[in-house]
Every structure is written in C-alpha cells, then in structure tokens.
Symmetry: C3
Subunit: 109 residues, 3 copies
Amino acid sequence: MKLIIAIVQDKDSNRLSGELVKSNFRATKLASTGGFLRAGNTTFLIGVDDSQVESVMNVIRNSCKVREQLVTPVTPMSGTTDSYLPLPVEVQVGGATVFVLPVDRFEHF
Amino acid sequence: MKLIIAIVQDKDSNRLSGELVKSNFRATKLASTGGFLRAGNTTFLIGVDDSQVESVMNVIRNSCKVREQLVTPVTPMSGTTDSYLPLPVEVQVGGATVFVLPVDRFEHF
Amino acid sequence: MKLIIAIVQDKDSNRLSGELVKSNFRATKLASTGGFLRAGNTTFLIGVDDSQVESVMNVIRNSCKVREQLVTPVTPMSGTTDSYLPLPVEVQVGGATVFVLPVDRFEHF
Ligand code: NI
Ligand code: NI
Ligand code: NI
C-alpha cells in the first residue's frame, strides 16, 4: 500500500478528478496554496496498492502536464490611453508535484 | 512514532474530535472533499507513539462506523401534485479511511 | 527525499512562508484547525532532499518558536461597570509540530 500525495494546479484539478474516477481510483482533495505559484492549487491524497502506483502516475502525468497557454494580460482601466492594446502572451501552466509515501497499515471502517 | 491520516465524513468529525480529546490524543483537522461521496469530509492528522496506534484506531472505529440512517428525499417544490409524499429511505453513512504512516523524525518546537 | 509536514499557528504562517522562500524551499500550505488550540493553524508540506532536512528544521524553529505575548482580554460590553479595566496578560504563542516522513518516490511533471 502507498499513499500518493499529488499537488496540482486548480485548473487541472477537475480533469484529474474525472480521470481518476474513470480509472477507478479514489482521491480525497484538499484546498492548498503556495509552491511555485501564488494561485491556488489542490492536494490529492490517493491510497493504492503498490502495483497501481504506475497507473496513477500516468493518470496524473496525462492530466496535469506542463503546457503553454495564451493569456491576455489584464490592463489597468483607463479612459484615455486607448492606443494600447494588450497582446496575449504565452505562459506555462500545469505540472504536478507528486510524493509516494510508504504505508505501514491501511484500514477501511 | 506514526502519523495517522484518517478521512471521515463531516457528520462524524465532531464526534471523533471529542472522543480523541477525551482519550488525550491531539489531532489537526483539514477540510477535504471527494472519495466515495460528493459530500464534504474531514482529514485528521494524528501523531502518536507506535504503542498508541491501536487505541487511536479503536476511537476512530467507534466514532465513525458505517451505519444505516433514514433520510427523507428532498422533492421539488410543487403546489399542485400533493398526491406524492416522499418516504424516508435507508442510506449508509459513516465509515473512515485510515492510513498509518511511518515517521522518521518528530519535533515539537 | 523526505516530506516534512509542519503544523504552525496562523500568526506564524506568513513569517514561515517568507523565510522558506528566502532559503529557497518550496512549501504547499493547507488551512487546518485543532490540536492544542481552538484557533486556526496552517499545515505546511515541504519536500526536500535528506541533506536539507536540518536546514528546514532550523527555519521552522526560528520562525515559529514559542514565546510569550501580552494579550488584553476581551471583556463583555458594558455601559455601566466602567470600574473594571482589563489588564493585559501574558500568553504563550507560537510553536510547531513537525513530522518528517520517508518518501519512496518523488516526481515532478
Ligand atoms: Ni467504504
Ligand atoms: Ni507544544
Ligand atoms: Ni516544476
């Protein structure tokens, strides 16, 4: 038995939840913050047999992989300088930090 | 030293907190979601000596055991069809998922 | 690799976050409650190489150490008995509970 603790960006959290359910893995989710990003993230707790660790890792990798995304910067409101139009920029989103912990004992009451 | 991570339904959370205090165990609680249930649950972190694991397990088992509960389904509001009266149904509530993790080192500052 | 789980009082949480960033350690934060105190606390998850555990421990110790603080008790509102003036009292604040857990595997996607 292993306890997998995965910290993922909020924007990947729903997709990861859905993919874990599809693959029949159960996860408990905790709202979290910090790490690289100011933005909120989600900490998943997933308990699995040793033989399933690789499958869960694949689900996480596929659901949360780092990719580029176009983001249009928010500009301060301004009534006068309409000469400036913000252009979308590419930012990296996604990614996951994953710890696999040994479990001495697992119980389900 | 062990770290016990117990995930319990919100409705059992207060009872478990109280019983742990009574037995002189300290717990840190984290709001969590997911697992079997849409509903909210609570994740307890409890650090104990190896010799106390069984006692904590018993407290969790007794506070959170699965049992049947009568629930009256919520019906959509309706001014006209008062011919339908929802009957209470039995649902399973309670239960806990518990991981016991080895601890390399414990400090209390 | 180790996973350090540190539970600290909310009032020390910002200082600890700042000091960890200064020392180049990344932490994920979870809002938590309970333990000794009714008041809210924060649970930090910090993944580090074995060789860095002692450094992180020092940062936590320095940021969260128990100290005395003067607190003026809140008194019930009262229009008539202005003869009673609450005096500040010394209370202990701070402190941290820290678990160092072994990690079988660490991945960063
Ligand atoms: Ni169950
Ligand atoms: Ni203490
Ligand atoms: Ni990264």
